[in-house]
């Protein structure tokens, strides 16, 4: 049967830790710090808007680009929040989460053999989706540079076949983020080589120590940037699957072409709810952010105290401590911790080979769960 499967799909490596995940899902009474989504449910005003739209009979297709109301809402939101100016007519596309946006932009840009630079550890899909689009991912190891891409390493990774870079900040899985000055330096190189920056900023609203700077907001960067964002993290709407892509008109037009043939449009209920989130969800976002920030302080303090070295993440809801002193590999550490103490974390290797020696801990869990889980990790470390 294997001969029926395309060579390209066969060449994609399934995630090496699938077996570990199945183990977690099969176990009971586990405290999971392995979850990549908020523990809050979508704010009630937003859920209510979705229900109301169903009652009103909004059950049809929408325009391929997405409801105009939502695109206009995004235009205003991006303008007032970040000073970004994207036209709701032809520079914004509503996508099925950032995941679809990423797939669309890669398929729109890549000719066979084009190279895409991906700083690692990174979100799991960047590499495989690049390959599926016919591109060649060029991974840059950032573990020695505080999990951030340095201008030197970027410069070194670029050659004639380089088409663009996938930048993600705050970073899943490390929680690191870039300050404006650091972004400026990266931008200069990206513009000099005329690359496209695919900027995944889905955690942007969850930045704690400084103001988040969107990449297209840097002077001169907009024409070389495709800005990807979504409602999942800012408004706790993961299951609604609403994201958006903003960029130069011709790139968005290309993306819309693929989107119209493969997806048609994002479900209307989700779009209606998202439009409401832009209007009345701000307060909930601020509350969630304050709560995450407290948990972040608590978790990083505790991890460092028990010797799991961890820099303070500046955004998202992840900590990425080193577990090297345990003498175990990331996968062994995670498996043993699960079996012995029933705490689930994600091995760093899920996010690239250079994630070896680290684990990802998500603090999108209640304070009670976090306290208990950290107690168990302490016990686990003490037992060996």
């Amino acid at each position: 049967m294997k001969k029926n499967i395309s060579k390209k799909v066969q060449s994609i490596q399934p995630s090496g830790i699938r077996a570990f995940f199945d183990l977690v899902l099969g176990m009971k009474d586990v405290i999971s710090l392995g979850v990549g989504e908020p523990d809050f449910v979508t704010p009630w005003v937003v859920r209510e808007a979705g229900i109301f739209s169903l009652e009103q009979g909004f059950t049809s297709y929408t325009s391929n680009k997405g409801l105009y109301k939502l695109r206009l809402g995004l235009h205003r939101y991006l303008k007032s929040r970040y000073g970004l100016d994207y036209s709701p007519d032809d520079e914004i596309l509503i996508t099925v989460g950032v995941s679809e946006g990423l797939d669309l932009v890669l398929r729109t840009l890549i000719n066979p053999g084009d190279k895409i630079i991906i700083p690692q550890p990174s979100y799991v899909s960047y590499g495989p989706v690049t390959e599926l689009a016919g591109g060649l991912p060029i991974y840059v190891d950032t573990t020695r540079d505080g999990f951030k891409l340095t201008p030197e390493k970027l410069e070194k990774a670029i050659d004639k076949k380089t088409k663009g870079i996938i930048l993600n900040y705050p970073v899943n899985p490390t929680g690191e983020s870039y300050r404006r000055k650091e972004l400026e330096e990266l931008k200069r190189i990206i513009l000099r080589h005329n690359l496209i920056c695919i900027s995944d900023e889905v955690y942007g609203d969850l930045t704690y120590d400084f103001e988040h700077t969107p990449f297209p907001g840097l002077p001169g960067a907009k024409k070389n940037t495709v800005y990807l964002n979504g409602f999942s993290k800012s408004f706790a709407m993961t299951g609604w699957r609403v994201g958006f892509a903003c960029g130069p008109q011709e790139i968005i037009a290309g993306m819309t072409k693929i989107h119209q043939y493969t997806i048609m449009c994002v479900p209307i209920t989700s779009q209606m709810a998202a439009a409401e989130a832009l209007v009345s969800g701000k307060r909930s976002t601020e509350e969630m952010k304050r709560e995450y920030c407290r948990r972040r302080e608590f978790v990083t303090e505790e991890l460092n105290r028990m010797g799991l070295c961890c820099s303070k993440p500046q955004g998202a809801f992840y900590a990425f401590p080193s577990i090297k002193k345990s003498g175990l590999s990331s996968l062994e550490f995670s498996q043993k911790l699960l079996k012995e103490e029933k705490v689930a974390v994600v091995p760093g290797t899920a996010f690239g080979a250079c994630g070896e020696g680290f684990i990802r801990i998500s603090y999108a869990s209640s304070m009670e769960s976090l306290k208990e889980a950290l107690l168990r990790i302490r016990k686990f470390l003490g037992d060996r």
Binding site: V124, E297, M367
Partner: protein
Amino acid sequence: MEEILEILEKDGRVAPEEIAKMLRKKPQEVKSAIRKYEKEGVILKYKAVINKDLVRSEDSSVRALIEVSIVPQKDAGFDRIAERIYSFPEVSSCYLISGTYDLLVIVEGRNIHTVSSFVAEKLSCLENVRGTTTHFLLKKYKEDGVILKHREENKRIAISY
């Protein structure tokens, strides 16, 4: 609102040491801030929120909202008569409000009879009380921001990226 208060308002049992970790402060700082709040009466007391529907005992209580119209007193306005009302231990809350009546008084009693006799024998006969309307509570859904329902299990899948 001060963040310490925001944390304690959600969970009064969080230890000062933990609050210190969450806010990157010294435990001593948090302790003295809390002591100051207590002294100034910003923090009045700490208590458990109990879902009384689940407590099956002799002491189960009924609650009534009573609209009270009063004649304000010279010099003291509503305050003096309010004080006479809220001093009764049966009164759990008392508010002066705008609208068609003056005081909203919440009364708790063991059963309908105790509440009725409180209204008939204590409240209505007070000088300056012009009239009362009593509403008995049938079911509580949400109180002080807490939904009175057992928390459901987390619906998220255990591992995701």
